[in-house]
């Protein structure tokens, strides 16, 4: 059985939502290729759920259009779009068993009992819940409930699967496990997944593409590595991982004057430009030589097993450094003054959107 609609790419064109004066989502443009895994990432209240609900058809956009495989679906009611959806908090039907929950989308489509049972069994196998068919949702753990919600959303083979923070209610270990499973599931079923999260690790590890949202606006979108390595703004750099931010001005010789230092940068803009450099803590090496070498006094140092998280005091403020603990060049003892260095292409110039993450 196939979905009601074509399985082409999904396109958001200037999709916006206002509640009275309040702008929840402003002019979202996105192109989501068929079969890809997109994550909407942003802090609480940034409009992630609102975008997802507009895609699902529960929230009517104030402006903009929604196209699936080139056809306009902006005016279609949710049941006609027939996208699979995993709700924030799962929304399993408490009066039905696991099997009945999963069978629900098939039953409302008038699919016969025999075909329904086969399909339900296959889907429960897919999410590894075969033994739980006759339980009620209240008798399941959080992770199991999450899988039922997934099975229910997948059972009718929808073109698109929408997931609203599917893992946020789970503990860290289970979350990591289910991230794995979700990724494997995506590969196996080959459908388009649109996931919502405010967990940057989840976004990076799961997605083909991530769209970062802030205050209802898509700030940047791209592949996880591209976003991490080349954040466009201060917000993106700060929200996706940690970063040091250095203010400076480009000099005639192409170096960046930053406090007392002249820093080398791989691709400096025109002289006289004020720039903001984003420098990841793990790209700074302690006690080693490099294109840019400065000194700082260790303010704090935390041992994390795999590495040290060190904060050094410098003339331009505190700088965070992550250094592998294994065969470290120096011991970052608190109070000592040590040198640090980074390569000319380690820092990225970002736009200062005044929203430190």
């Amino acid at each position: 059985m196939s979905a009601t609609l074509g399985t082409g790419s999904l396109e958001l064109r200037g999709l916006a939502k206002r509640y009275g004066e309040f702008v929840a989502v402003q002019g979202a443009d996105l192109m989501i290729a068929a079969g890809s895994f997109l994550t909407l990432l942003g802090p609480s209240g940034s409009g992630k759920t609102t975008i997802l609900m507009m895609i699902a058809g529960f929230t009517e956009p104030t402006a903009g259009r929604l196209l699936l495989g080139g056809g306009d679906i902006t005016a279609l009611p949710p049941e006609k779009r027939a996208f699979g959806m995993v709700f924030q908090g799962y929304a399993l039907f408490p009066h039905m068993t696991v099997a009945e929950n999963v069978a629900f989308p098939l039953r409302v489509r008038g699919i016969g009992r025999a075909a329904r049972d086969t399909r339900v069994r296959a889907t429960l196998d897919l999410v590894q819940l075969s033994g739980f068919a006759d339980r009620r949702p209240a008798q399941l753990s959080g992770g199991q409930q999450q899988r039922v919600a997934l099975a229910r959303a997948l059972v009718f083979d929808p073109a698109l699967l929408l997931l609203d923070e599917p893992l946020s209610a789970l503990d860290k270990k289970l979350r990591a496990e289910l991230q794995e499973e979700l990724r494997a599931l995506h590969r196996r079923v080959g459908r388009t997944f649109i996931n919502v999260t405010h967990d940057q690790e989840e976004a990076l590890s799961l997605s083909d593409e991530v769209a970062v949202l802030n205050h209802g606006r898509i700030v940047q979108k791209g592949a996880p590595a591209m976003l991490y390595e080349h954040p466009r703004t201060r917000f993106v750099a700060g929200f996706l991982g940690k970063s040091n931010f250095l203010h400076g001005v480009v000099q005639g010789d192409g170096t960046v004057q930053c406090g007392p230092w002249r820093l080398h940068h791989a691709a400096p803009p025109a002289p006289g430009t004020a720039v903001l450099l984003s420098l990841r803590p793990e790209k700074i090496a302690l006690g080693q030589a490099g294109d840019n070498a400065i000194e700082g006094r260790v303010l704090s140092s935390a041992y994390l097993g795999a590495g040290h998280a060190v904060v050094l005091d410098t003339p331009i403020g505190p700088i965070r450094v992550h250094q592998p603990a294994w065969r470290a060049a120096v011991d970052p003892a608190i109070g000592t003054t040590i040198s640090m260095a980074w390569a000319a292409d380690a820092a990225t110039i970002v736009e200062d959107d005044d929203a430190p993450g």
Binding site: P78, M85, F87, G89, F93, F104, P105, R107, V108, A153
Partner: protein, 285 residues
């Protein structure tokens, strides 16, 4: 889970429960004991034995009043549930502000004396009443309809009285249904009708059962409304008991029927307390 909570609270607050003891004793001495004494008359008058109870099988008047009562109560319950369900559904879907007005409209009748309401129905339903006059004026009927002094009139009055009692438990059940579940059902492809039949209705069913039990038990003992709107021609148990005891001085027969009524109510409650949560029905958390 609830039961566990209760037990824990009992253990923890054991001392406080003792404070209820005087009230409990007072209730037993001045309320429960006299009732039991009255009911015991059914085994002693006019002569000791089960003679009064044998009449259930043999006496036509006894049988007729039992059947009339059960029939009227069943029809009343069914109608009150249907109207009440529709009202509760509308109130659940209404906006916050509209909901307050709806609730007021449902509750206001509760504050008007049952006597006043019964007589209001008599004025509306009698031969020269508003309804008959309107229908005749419009040429729909030639002769006035017999709308009162019969079962029809009793049922109209009783349904009117019972609707608020049907609405409140159902409303409580409906308001506990998560709106997200309904949205989820739609998102999974269900039409509005399917959402109602397969998700909303089953989830509101406990409220429906609770309301049904409440209304049915209430109607069994109805006195004033059937007495006024039945005009003495259609008798329900309460009026019949009063007739036996006050007019015919047949204490044994009257108290037999009273005992039967109490037992029926207790049995109904016992059966349904297994089906629904009684604490919720009677306003507990």
């Amino acid at each position: 889970m609830r039961r566990g909570d209760m037990a824990a609270r009992l253990r923890r607050d054991g001392g406080w429960w003792a404070l209820l003891l005087p009230a409990f004793l007072l209730l037993s001495v001045f309320y429960i004991t006299p009732i039991l004494q009255v009911l015991a008359i059914s085994f002693t008058e006019p002569e000791p034995g089960l003679g009064n109870y044998q009449r259930i099988a043999t006496n036509l008047s006894v049988q007729r009043v039992i059947w009339t009562t059960l029939r009227i109560c069943t029809i009343t319950t069914a109608l009150a549930l249907m109207l009440g369900y529709g009202l509760a559904y509308a109130i659940t879907l209404a906006s916050e502000q509209a909901r307050r007005w709806w609730l007021l409209c449902v509750l206001v009748p509760l504050w008007i004396s049952v006597l006043v309401r019964a007589f209001a129905w008599v004025t509306l339903l009698r031969r020269q009443g508003l309804i008959n006059q309107t229908l005749q004026g419009a040429g729909i009927i030639a002769e006035p309809l017999q709308l009162v002094w019969n079962e029809f009139g009793i049922i109209v009055g009783m349904v009117h009285y019972m609707v608020p009692y049907a609405v409140l438990p159902m409303l409580a059940a409906m308001r506990e249904i998560e709106p997200r579940l309904l949205a989820a059902a739609r998102g999974l492809g269900a039409s509005r009708g399917q959402v109602f039949r397969q998700v909303f209705f089953p989830l509101s069913a406990p409220g429906l059962v609770a309301a049904g039990v409440l209304v049915f038990i209430f109607s069994l003992g109805f006195y004033i409304t059937p007495a006024i709107l039945g005009g003495g021609r259609t008798l329900m148990v309460a009026e019949w008991i009063s007739l036996q005891i006050l007019d015919l001085i047949r204490w044994g027969l009257g108290t037999m029927m009273a005992t039967l009524l109490v037992v029926t109510i207790l049995v109904t409650l016992a059966v349904f307390s297994r089906v629904v949560n009684m604490r919720r029905l009677f306003g507990g958390a």
